[in-house]
Amino acid sequence: MPRAPTPIVPLAEAVERFVADGSRVALEGFTHLIPFAAGHEIIRQRKRDLTLVRMTPDLIYDQMIGTGCANALVFSWGGNPGVGSLHRLRDAVEHGWPTPLRLHEHSHAEMANAYVAGASGLPMAVLRSPAGADHAGKGARLGTVTCPFTGEVLAAVPAIRVDTTILHAQQADRRGNVQLWGISGVQKEAALCAEKVVVTVEEIVDRLEPKPGGVVLPSWVVTAVAAVPRGATPSYAQGYYERDNAFYEAWDEVARDRQGFVDWMEKHVLGTRDFAGYLRSVAGGEAAARG
């Protein structure tokens, strides 16, 4: 209980120590602050048999699924926003490539509530969810509870709890307190439903200045911090850089084809030592866009 201060470590060390093969891992961030650098490091370290949890899998899980890190996915909307399909996710589901993927599928409302329940130490969340829709085969357990006051039957969804949550934030201070701001999605709930919390940040600062819309995670709920500038690219970090919409649009072509995807991942992710190397690799790749 005399707590050790939160370690500030290289990302590779954080992933090695706190992401175990076969564990349940959430990398959250609703379009904003998606922890791409951490996802790449998981790919580089060839973690296997992960259960990946995330409302919107986005390109980062497309990459992790396509490189065989995961055997299960808990999610609520699995597309490339505004562009189309996540081809690697589809290939895993439709053809079991590179490895079969079990799905546990929710609506956004169910999943957001399930995260809240996990953060609140409850075994379940209660919500008004429509009856009559298909659930067969979706892999997500649903139940009901009856309100003891009104007799109404309400939907129940099991709480989400994970082994490790990884977030990207704008800033941490030297003691490991973290602040993120802008669209904050379910990041707080994802952090507070996890055994271990790893946060990559744009920068380490002397003092966190409270920001409008700021979400603060005190150091004592943060397991480790790693400084990774531009670590959410091609997602964005409000106040630091914009979303790389062109990358999202171009990804559709890269991921459509297995070999093209493998070559791209080999060259830019597996073939680089760290995220700075990745950024240099893709920046140099504008002409050689197809890998």
Partner: protein
């Protein structure tokens, strides 16, 4: 399609919008006849006022122009389930005659021929918004006799099935397609073709529907887009003033 849909939105309404066509139509309405339309996006922005169309539902532009940005759980708990949404605006991959929607799979769930993105916010938007607008292209592949998967409930089997299900909102009130406009029959809740876009024929609409399509006796033509609507759409669709991808894949 976006123009017709935008005209269905009354000024001052609180509108929960998905990205893509719904966002485009809602922002067109805000730029033309409905300047006080309140746009809520599921990532957290309330009262967003983007000047260009966002590509994704969590774009920075949405947060920076919003009256408030709250957490995603709060959006679904306090704002949607709390009964504060007038209009839910949805797209879909498949629709049936009772305006039930599929965005999950084509083919059987366990062995789909096409894995679609899944539910997202749609099931609860359709359940809780006071009314629901749906926008999707019309073809035999999208307007199907039987959905491969019921992701989102419209009127279930029709008649009073939805009303008996205890849904807080009253359900879909309009379906806008590239061919025209459909409305549910007041009693049976089956979708009825009530308007066609200029140049589209009833036969064409029937041919592009996977069930025997009912047509209103007072079928009308939708009005042509007005110049100010076209101009507003152009402004919304101009490229955002951001640098090109630094990391071309």
């Amino acid at each position: 399609m976006a123009v017709t849909a935008s005209r269905l939105l009354e000024d001052g309404a609180v509108c929960f919008v998905g990205i893509g066509l719904p966002s485009k139509a809602a922002n067109l309405a805000r730029a033309t006849h409905a300047p006080n339309l309140v746009l809520i996006y599921e990532a957290g922005p309330i009262g967003a006022k983007p000047t260009v169309l966002p590509l994704s539902i969590g774009d920075g532009e949405l947060a920076e122009t919003a009256d408030a940005v709250v957490s995603t759980p709060e959006i679904f708990r306090y704002w949607l389930q709390g009964g504060r949404i007038d209009v839910g605006f949805l797209g879909a991959a498949q629709i049936d005659r009772f305006a039930n929607l599929n965005t999950t799979v084509i083919g059987p769930y366990e062995h789909p021929s096409v894995r679609l993105p899944g539910a997202g916010g749609a099931p609860e938007i359709a359940a809780h918004a006071k009314e629901v607008l749906i926008i999707l292209p019309q073809s035999e592949r999208t307007f199907v006799d039987r959905l491969d998967f019921v992701t989102t409930v419209g009127y279930l089997g029709g008649g009073d099935a939805r009303a008996r299900g205890g849904f807080p909102g009253r359900g879909p009130t309009a379906v806008v397609t590239d061919l025209g406009l459909l409305r549910p029959h007041p009693e049976t809740k089956e979708l009825v073709l009530v308007a066609l876009h200029p140049g589209v024929t009833v036969e064409q609409a029937k041919a592009q529907t996977g069930w025997p399509l009912r047509v209103s006796e007072s079928l009308r033509a939708t009005a042509d887009p007005e110049p100010r609507e076209i101009a507003a759409l152009r402004r919304l669709e101009r490229p955002a003033p951001v640098p090109p991808s630094r990391g071309a894949p």
